[in-house]
């Protein structure tokens, strides 16, 4: 393949994947809204409501406060979306990775950094907007990023370490992780440890996505939107899209770590296009289940936490739980 063809293909792939991420992310958000509404005894919005919302935001006026740092304020949403899309490139997405140009590239550590980008962009944009509410929200976002990073990193490192012990090469690569489910490698103790890590990761999801109970940076009733208070129109829509793409990237991470099985492997000798469709559908269903367990169910069942409680929950409770999970997996290798 010549370099030019590769670049053209890469561009087409990035655009296609962004579209896929946006559409799937918005659908997942719509499913979340409907499910939460049903759990609260409401009917809820139509499934495609997030699409209407984003479409409307794109048509609305994009205001900037007079005290804002214009360049940073304008660029933050673009960086957020770019970061989320880049993260998506390095995550196995069910069957789609067969066509992935970046197959085998990047690893869990890179993904950790890329997943931080949308949050960091929101922090920078929040500070740049000059609003006191956004400043408080930005400080809270930084604190919560620092907090959920501990259990998140602990989980990825443990699972990769487990593969390294099993003698797999390139254990940090998510593609390797997806090819070697931890459940297949570990014994009973390891299963318990992995289950603990799965629980921890499900509670990291609402933190990563800024949902209740970890939505202190936006906290509607306290900060009236916090970080995003000054954003409107196109800029706000870009943040929404970044959030949607990040949802898909996180789903991909969850699937790679804990549920990498392919639907198509149930049948042998499926032609490639059919297998890809099956795997993609399987991925969507798995993503929906992870989002339901980690986001919808949690946010329907609890109140918003204060920022100091968020730090405590992530460092103390979930951090300890993640360490206990690691310990179980380590002990498992001795037996």
């Amino acid at each position: 393949m010549s370099t030019t063809t590769w670049i053209l293909l890469a561009i087409a792939w990035v655009i296609g994947l962004s579209l896929y991420g946006v559409i799937l992310g918005l659908i997942l958000s719509g499913v979340d809204r409907v499910l939460v509404a049903r759990m609260q005894g409401r009917i809820g919005p139509p499934l495609v409501q997030p699409f209407y919302d984003v479409a409307k935001l794109f048509r609305k006026q994009d205001c900037m406060p007079s005290g804002a740092t214009a360049l940073v304020f304008r660029f933050a949403p673009v960086v957020a979306l770019a970061g989320a899309v880049t993260a998506l490139l390095f995550v196995p997405l069910g069957g789609l990775e067969r066509a992935a140009l970046f197959l085998g590239r990047g690893d869990g550590i890179l993904l950790l950094y890329l997943l931080l980008l949308p949050g960091l962009a929101m922090v920078v944009g929040g500070f740049a907007s000059g609003s006191p509410y956004a400043s408080i929200g930005a400080q809270r976002e930084m604190l919560s990023m620092v907090s959920y990073e501990l259990p998140l990193a602990c989980t990825i490192l443990t699972l990769a370490w487990r593969l390294a012990r099993a003698g797999v090469t390139a254990p940090f690569s998510l593609w390797t992780l997806a090819d070697h489910p931890v459940w297949a490698e570990a014994g009973p103790l390891g299963w318990a440890g992995a289950a603990l890590l799965l629980g921890v990761m499900l509670l990291v999801l609402p933190g990563e996505l800024g949902r209740i109970p970890f939505d202190a940076p936006e906290a509607e009733t306290e900060l009236a939107g916090g970080l995003l208070i000054e954003y409107s129109g196109r800029s706000l829509a870009l943040f929404e899209l970044a959030q949607a793409v990040k949802t898909v990237a996180l789903s991909g991470l969850m699937c790679a770590l804990f549920a990498p099985w392919r639907l198509s492997s149930a049948w042998s000798e499926l032609p490639m296009p059919v297998a890809t469709v099956f795997d993609t559908l399987g991925f969507i269903v798995k993503s929906g289940l992870f989002m339901f367990a980690g986001v919808s169910l949690v946010r329907a069942a609890v109140a918003r936490l204060r920022i100091d409680d968020i730090v405590r929950v992530y460092w103390k409770h979930l951090g300890l739980a993640a360490l206990a999970g690691s310990l179980l997996l380590i002990v498992d290798t001795w037996i």
């Binding site: 609890v302 109140a303 918003r304 204060r306 409680d309």
Partner: protein, 424 residues
């Protein structure tokens, strides 16, 4: 680095998602911690008293009812009690009972509404829907009972406007059974939920001493351990025959902290108390007339001759409400002053908020169940003028307001255009 703490000031409101009505809170913050707090009321401009002093008492009754958006009995009851005292009208016994019945239903509806709002302030929307779905039952019942879901117009000077028939009586029994069945669910959801406890226990403390000094009333005072309740201290309507004992948080938790959690405890158990009171009221409901002066014209003739002053008190869901009325043998009263419960409770915000976190502002602000439209008044200055804004010097007429709002729109348009230039 200097040792001095660097603080910054910020305001919340007058329009902010934490407030359902306009009021402004201002803060000195050190990071997330509140160093000093203050509030600026007076954002809801209402000339209700001024309007009332140009109307006769029967008309004022309906105006009074509309002081509050949700308490359809509270202000009408206080006003009617004041006028009845001046004119020496003896309310029939059955009417007393029917008034108490309406009051207690209103308390259930108001506390459920508050519980929902509090849950929403905590970011716990599922609980908000639970509370408001339960509240629908009482609203439907009140529509059956009085003809309206919120502004009941059931209190009349001299009694009540509508009697209770067998069909509504049956509906009341069913609704009471419903609340008895859901009470346990509500209690567990609000008082035993971990996240609610995490956010509310020890938050926004008002000590008994502060509550006394700041003259807090209603559930706000009771949660701090002050056993005040107008129904208990100065029984009126049927409360002399169906006695009420002030609900205090230590009955449930064993001790009094005066925090947000205790205020939830008091309100949740007042729902149960109201259900029990309603059972007694309905069981003991006597027969007889429901209005001492059923003919409005005769009533008006009598009120026109009345002279004197009186204070009508009532224990609203939010606390004591009092109306001062002075009649001087004329069509309209000489004076009418409304003191809503939130007027007494606002000041307790300050000790509650200082030392807490920004995250606690919404729930602490909501914990006194503020009714801003009940409290805010327009001040009419006699002969003082009002800053040159009005042509007559005293009162802004409709024409003045139109002129002022057109001027403001022009001003906003000009500055928006200027801003748009900057953006480009």
């Amino acid at each position: 680095m200097s040792e001095k703490e660097i603080t910054f000031s910020t305001t919340i409101g007058p329009t902010h998602p934490a407030f359902k009505e306009p009021i402004q809170l201002s803060f000195e913050l050190h990071g997330e911690e509140i160093v000093a707090a203050d509030f600026v009321p007076g954002q809801a401009h209402r000339g209700v008293e001024w309007m009332g002093m140009r109307r006769n008492p029967v008309q004022i009754l309906y105006l009074a009812e509309r002081i509050c958006g949700i308490c359809g009995v509270t202000h009408a009851m206080s006003f009617a009690r004041a006028v009845e005292q001046i004119a020496g009208i003896e309310v029939p016994r059955r009417a007393h009972y029917l008034r108490s019945i309406a009051c207690e239903w209103e308390r259930i509806h108001s506390h459920l509404l508050w519980a929902g709002v509090a849950a929403h302030e905590l970011g716990f929307d599922s609980l908000f829907y639970v509370a408001w779905q339960a509240r629908e039952k009482v609203l439907d019942l009140m529509e059956d009972f009085t003809g309206s879901r919120v502004h009941y117009s059931t209190i009349a000077i001299g009694g009540v406007r509508r009697d209770l028939d067998d069909r509504v009586r049956k509906a009341m029994d069913e609704t009471l059974a419903f609340y008895e069945s859901v009470f346990e669910q509500l209690r567990r959801a609000f008082l035993e939920d971990d996240t609610v406890r995490l956010r509310c226990v020890g938050t926004g403390v008002l000590t008994a001493k502060e509550a006394l000094e700041l003259c807090a009333v209603g559930p706000t005072a009771r949660a701090s351990g002050i056993p005040w309740d107008v129904r208990q201290d100065h029984p009126y309507a049927a409360y002399a025959e169906v006695p009420v004992k002030a609900v205090l948080p230590d009955a449930y938790t064993g001790e009094t902290h005066g925090d947000v959690y205790d205020r939830i405890v008091v309100r949740v158990f007042e729902i149960l108390q109201s259900v029990q009171l309603l059972h007694q009221l309905l069981d003991q409901l006597p027969e007889g007339p429901i209005n001492a002066c059923p003919k409005p014209v005769a009533l008006l003739m009598r009120l026109k001759k009345a002279t004197g002053e009186a204070v009508g008190m009532h224990e609203a869901p939010r606390g004591e409400v009092s109306h001062y009325v002075r009649l001087a043998a004329a069509e309209a009263p000489l004076s009418w002053k409304v003191k809503a419960s939130s007027y007494s409770n606002y000041m307790s915000w300050v000790p509650m908020l200082v030392g807490e976190q920004v995250a606690d502002i919404p729930i602490i602000a909501a914990s006194i169940d503020p009714c801003i439209s009940c409290t805010d008044r327009v001040l009419v200055r006699k002969g003082g003028g009002s800053g040159g804004a009005s042509s007559s010097g005293q009162v802004l007429t409709k024409a003045d307001l139109t002129r002022l709002s057109v001027a403001k729109t022009r001003r906003l348009q000009a500055s928006a255009a200027a801003r748009a230039e900057v953006v480009r």
